[in-house]
């Protein structure tokens, strides 16, 4: 998906899920996306908002890169292990281009 070639600025794709967050058990609902497919995303920037039964919280981009695919649109119910987005990380480190965490 990242179309990695020797001249590509991207490394292997990074799958974003809620599994990085310890949160309320059960399903969550995607309520907002702060970026669109194709956007450049700074590492640590809020990517999307999800809501569980008693909590709303933002999910941060695990690294800087290009948001290549949104897998869960607004209103979609997701489990914590579901992949909600794919990010192709930028090759070079730099301002807002930190390593994936």
């Amino acid at each position: 998906m990242c179309n990695i070639g020797k001249d590509s600025p991207f490394r292997d794709e990074v799958k974003v899920s809620l599994g990085q967050l310890a949160a309320e058990p059960g399903e969550a609902v995607v309520t907002s996306w702060y970026f669109s497919e194709g956007d450049s995303v700074p590492g640590g920037a809020d990517l999307l908002e999800v809501v569980t039964d008693k909590a709303s919280f933002d999910v941060a981009a695990p690294c800087a890169g290009r948001l290549t695919k949104i897998m869960a649109t607004i209103g979609t119910k997701i489990k914590h292990s579901d992949v909600v987005a794919i990010i192709c990380p930028f090759q070079e480190a730099g301002p807002d281009r930190g390593e994936c965490r």
Partner: protein, 212 residues
Amino acid sequence: MRVRDLGLIEFQEAEDFQLCYMKGRLPGDAGDMLIMAEHPPVVTLGRIADASTVPGLCSFEQQGISVIKVARGGKTTFHSPGQLLLYPSIDLKARAKDISLYIDLLEITIEKSLRELGVNAARISGTRGVWVGMKKIAFTGVSVKRWLTLHGAAVNINNELDMFRNIHPCGDPGIKVTSARQELGVLLDMSIVKDVFARRFAEDIDIHYGGH
């Protein structure tokens, strides 16, 4: 743990205060604060609540009571004077990045505080909130941004309960509500109530949610 009592204040003013406080915090500071408030009558709907949870919308409109959407978890509840709002501003990064545990902490604090005040409150396994028997006395609904908490919990202390008939509390038409006043048969001194909750919260956050 700092404590700030905003007194009787409009819901949106209290939300603005929380947002300003959150934005002013520096990463890693020790600025955790318990904000407390009471609100004039208002219905608040969480991010995933819809209008069907307010079947008595006309009653609120006739009395000039606003129904507003709020960027928090949880569904629908009703606020009025005599209900204690707990709005902790906590940096979860400095303690534990676990939102479920944080909501547990809120509920534990509420349960213990109410018991100290003589109310036979308890948590019920598998449900959220705090209960007296099968009636709900406290409601939770939080928001977390960059691991800083917003919103929190509402506890029925002295407030009138009649208007709860016009909503489905927490989105559930089967939920009955109660208050400390109804359980004890007396009005409680809100200054004493707030002192109990503030002390318990400061103790419990270190016991149940990791100290700095």
